[in-house]
């Protein structure tokens, strides 16, 4: 499989504070990689670096073969993201937001693409509703629709189902898996829901204090490290990261 994301020796420091410490990983086309870790582990810092809104102190990022530092626009044309903390402007309607971001991503035949996404994410009845008055679950669907606008090769999802009810979350997970496995999109997914991670991710990276402590198949990792469940392993790593076995 083709590598769509290649992050090499990524570091980010704020003075003496090291937020991300020599993190190296890759995501292949069609693969869903979970980025796990306790609060403050460096997940969002890593995602911000991958999105080009935070410059790494050192290290390199290649997206679909493009160096993010040198070919920023080309790399980001192939990327998109959805995050609970980055709601779309609430003073524009759903359709207006999709059109604005569609132009920014340079989408051809934008009208048809927006109509298709409104249908795909069950947003047709909300198309003329301002995003600011939508429920958090509806806003998540709009963010995901925006994230699919450019048919990204790399999709960064920061807790994409955090605001969804269990039924909607299940449907969304199935949808995103479909996007990855049929559309060939590589996905980096952060979540605190270990059940979800086991369901969705092909591979996970455990991040703690800015370093990758563990990586592997989320369905096999617990047994390999003497834990009954992924959640138990997560809790152990979050509390005693330095005692954990490092791979």
């Amino acid at each position: 499989m083709q590598t769509v994301l290649d992050a090499s020796e990524l570091c980010k420091s704020y003075g003496d504070l090291v937020a991300v410490d020599h993190v190296t990983f890759s995501v292949a086309s069609g693969e869903i990689v979970g980025l796990l870790g306790p609060n403050g582990a460096g997940k969002t810092t890593t995602i911000n670096m991958l999105l080009g809104v935070l410059a790494p102190t050192s290290g390199s990022i290649r997206i679909a073969g493009c160096d993010l530092a040198r070919e920023r626009s080309r790399a980001l044309e192939r990327t998109n993201f959805a995050a609970v903390y980055a709601a779309l402007p609430g003073n524009l309607t759903v359709a207006q937001n999709l059109r604005v971001f569609g132009l920014i991503y340079g989408i051809r035949d934008l009208g048809a693409r927006v109509r298709a996404l409104l249908a795909e994410f069950d947003l047709e009845r909300l198309r003329d509703t301002k995003c600011g008055v939508l429920s958090s679950g509806e806003q998540t669907r709009v963010s995901l629709a925006k994230a699919m606008l450019n048919r990204p090769q790399l999709l960064l999802l920061d807790e994409p189902t955090a605001s969804l009810d269990p039924s909607a979350a299940q449907a969304m997970r199935a949808h995103i898996r479909d996007v990855a496995h049929r559309g060939g999109c590589g996905i980096l997914w952060t979540s605190h829901n270990m059940y979800e991670v086991e369901q969705v991710c092909d591979r996970v990276l455990f991040l703690s204090r800015g370093r990758i402590l563990l990586k592997g198949d989320p369905r096999k990792l617990p047994a390999e490290h003497g834990a009954r469940t992924l959640e138990e392993l997560f809790i152990r790593l979050a509390r005693e990261p330095l005692n954990a076995s490092v791979q």
């Binding site: 911000n48 080009g52 980001l76 059109r99």
Partner: protein
């Protein structure tokens, strides 16, 4: 620079204005208020002084020219602040949108909005107070051009300040035109100013406009050289302010300010 992303930035502003009368109203309201207020002041002054001084052209004309400059500057700044208010930086700057395309979108929005204001200004001033801007002849074109260019430069500078200092610094940028107005001699000749203020006026392109405008109103020939210098100066200041914005943007990307932009994180 690519046109589609620039159109995206403009479309966002167009949607905001279309859906919000409170955003459209200021494009007309302040111009109308200035015309009415200064129109009656000039009419009163003319009634006292007789026909010796053309107050309508010299005072009302100057006020409206300055108003045009202020609208341009505020057009750029307001378009930028819309992204501050809606916390849209992460959404915009995590896209292929280049910083030059973003600025071009803000400037193009300001041009469109201020042209509407300019039209209203010309129609009202002519219809109600008999001020004919076209009496300034072809000089009107470079006059407006200098004010337009300097308005863009100041708007980009104001946006850079807010990006660097945080949303709470918004209050600092609104009075910038008022702060500059004593130096550029909107209502009086530059010779009225003390030497240090005249020195400041030399780097402010509008000072050349108002100097030449007064010369035309007084029936004198105006000198093309200083006005051409004003245009060159304004272009240089746009380049400098754009460079400053890009530097501040890079600082914000390096320090994490952009990713966590809010009043609390900016310092």
């Amino acid at each position: 620079m690519r046109l589609r992303p620039i159109a995206g930035v403009m479309l966002r502003q167009f949607y905001l204005m279309r859906g919000s009368p409170v955003r459209v109203l200021p494009m007309f309201a302040w111009v109308a208020i200035d015309i009415v207020l200064w129109g009656f002041i000039t009419r009163y002054l003319t009634s006292i002084a007789g026909t010796r001084i053309n107050f309508v052209a010299s005072l009302l004309g100057a006020v409206l020219m300055w108003d045009f400059f202020t609208r341009i500057m505020q057009g750029v700044t307001t378009a930028f602040l819309e992204d501050v208010w809606s916390r849209n930086f992460l959404n915009f700057f995590a896209t292929p949108l280049a910083i030059s395309e973003y600025l071009a979108g803000l400037i193009a929005t300001s041009i469109a909005a201020s042209l509407v204001g300019l039209t209203v200004m010309l129609v009202l001033a002519t219809a109600v107070f008999g001020l004919s801007f076209f009496a300034l002849g072809l000089a009107l074109v470079p006059f407006l051009l200098v004010l337009f260019l300097f308005g863009i430069a100041l708007g980009v500078l104001a946006s850079a300040l807010v990006l660097r200092l945080g949303p709470a610094s918004e209050w600092m940028v609104w009075p910038l035109p008022a702060l500059l107005s004593p130096f550029v001699g909107v209502f009086y000749p530059l010779s009225t100013l003390p030497a240090w203020m005249r020195a400041v006026a030399r780097v402010l392109p509008p000072s050349y406009v108002f100097q030449d405008m007064r010369a035309i109103v007084a029936g004198q020939h105006f000198s093309v050289g200083p006005l051409a210098g004003g245009i060159a100066l304004a272009l240089a200041e746009i380049a400098l302010c754009t460079l400053l914005f890009v530097r501040v943007y890079r600082y914000a990307v390096r320090t994490g300010l952009l990713a966590r932009y809010s009043a609390e994180t900016a310092s």
